[in-house]
């Protein structure tokens, strides 16, 4: 049986692992390759690296990072952050990443999704969506790391992204991110039911029950968390044991 995936996320700045709480207050905590290797051994099914390096040579930094990671770990990994062009995709995939996540650039230039899918295959094109609840209960997407409200409906954007060739959607609830009060069930479920491609839920994980809920009622195919795993507040092994006991298929 195809298993649900548990995915630690590593935010990378200038080649080091950091994690922002609500997208600010970065804390420095570790070497990316060592951290990735530790997560592999701990039972992570996949890894996501979000590079938040802002400098102009960020592509070289990313390429270097991807090369080092792919020499040391042999589970799938996704790289995102600051991806703008087909060349960015090419460099990252060539160095050994399995998927590339694109966010702001896809919003500004949706054709990037179809170009990347045509050239490299849908399976390696992940569209990352940062969404925030509006007063009327619908969801709006944001770009530039959650700074700019695009006024676009998140569900509609998800459907559009899949139509263009996205092979997977990484859905982050900005309302839930950093709260540890649980994933946004409604946002995730709606996108999963309408998108037709695997959905990685992100933002809000605090307890094992949260993972169970989002992987069942929330209809997510994978659940992502950062601080929880990063600061060892929860062990992936224990989480998987719990999910297995709750009847959810996981790789153990």
């Amino acid at each position: 049986m195809l298993t649900k995936r548990i995915i630690p996320c590593l935010d990378i700045k200038d080649g080091r692992v950091v994690k922002g709480i609500n997208f600010v207050n970065l804390r420095d905590a570790g070497d990316p390759v060592e951290t990735a290797s530790a997560y592999d051994k701990a039972g992570a099914d996949e890894l996501v690296f979000l590079d938040i390096t802002a400098s102009s040579d960020s592509r070289d930094i990313k390429a270097d990072l991807v090369r080092k990671i792919s020499e040391a770990i042999f589970i799938p990994f996704t790289v995102g952050g600051g991806i703008r062009t087909i060349d960015d995709f090419k460099v990252i995939l060539r160095e050994g990443a399995d998927k590339v996540a694109v966010n702001s650039a896809a919003i500004m230039n949706p054709a990037l999704i179809s170009q990347a899918a045509d050239k490299f295959g849908s399976q390696c094109v992940v569209v990352a969506i940062d969404a925030k609840r509006r007063p009327d209960g619908s969801f709006s997407i944001f770009k530039n790391g959650g700074r700019i409200d695009m006024g676009i409906d998140a569900i509609k954007w998800a459907i559009e992204a899949v139509k263009l060739g996205a092979g997977e959607l990484l859905v982050t609830s900005m309302d839930c991110d950093g709260t540890k009060n649980g994933y946004d069930m409604e946002l995730t479920r709606k996108i999963s039911e309408n998108g037709g491609v695997p959905v990685i839920a992100s933002g809000g994980a605090g307890t094992m029950q949260h993972f169970k809920d989002i992987l069942t009622d929330g209809k997510a195919d994978a659940a992502l968390a950062a601080t929880l795993f990063h600061y060892k507040e929860m062990e992936i092994k224990d989480l998987k044991e719990y999910l297995h006991k709750e009847g959810i298929s996981v790789r153990r």
């Binding site: 049986m1 995936r5 099914d45 042999f74 589970i75 799938p76 995939l93 050994g96 399976q123 695997p198």
Partner: protein, 200 residues
């Protein structure tokens, strides 16, 4: 030395890096003399069936692969590399596969509750006594990314798997080995499979 066939398909680096990680010398090449002289050969591949066959044919690598097989050199097909060894695929109607093994590559049927492609970790049902899966735990998990699956008519199935339906996830016949999943992305289980191939 393990030679990895470079015909312009994606994901070749990961295969190379995994073999290097387990201490194997390997080379990524399209040079026929090197391929024919190698101790072992890997046919990797991520991409589309029709496009890949065209690339192999245009470089004459289809013939090279047949020669590799007939001289008894161990060959490992991975993902699309498995599919190419068979007669044809729903993905490219009318395009002939290498036809070294008998069977068809079929598109997963659209099914309520299942997403296509299958992406992620799924468990294998292993056939007893294969070389490629020697020493693995029962029902090991491996990483899949595919929209098309193999149905072979030969008695060569080394592992099967279930997603929407039962399909053939790996085959083993004499010196030919192939898997639909990605051993180079399947953690310790995958590295063990690559080691088994390297140690043949």
């Amino acid at each position: 030395m393990i030679a990895i066939i470079d015909y312009g398909a994606g994901n070749i680096k990961s295969v190379e890096k995994a073999f290097r990680f387990i201490g194997q010398e390997c080379i990524v090449t399209a040079d026929k003399d090197i391929l024919l002289g190698a101790e072992k050969v890997v046919l990797p591949g991520v991409g589309a069936f029709g496009d890949a066959m065209e690339k192999l044919d245009s470089q004459g690598l289809d013939e090279t692969i047949r020669q590799i097989v007939s001289k008894g050199t161990p060959l490992l097909g991975i993902c699309l590399g498995l599919q190419l060894l068979f007669e044809g695929s729903d993905e490219a109607p009318g395009v002939k596969g290498l036809g070294i093994l008998k069977g068809k590559v079929i598109k997963f049927p659209e099914t309520e509750g299942y997403k296509i492609p299958q992406i992620g970790w799924n468990s294998l049902e292993l056939k007893a006594g294969t070389k490629i899966f020697a020493g693995l735990p029962e029902n090991p998990y491996v990483y899949f990314v595919h929209s098309y699956y193999l149905h072979t008519t030969e008695d060569i199935v080394a592992a099967s798997c279930n997603y929407i339906l039962d399909f053939h996830a790996a085959v083993e016949k004499d010196n030919i080995f192939a898997c639909q999943f990605h051993p180079e992305k399947s953690g310790d289980v995958g590295l063990k499979i690559l080691r088994n191939f390297a140690d043949l």
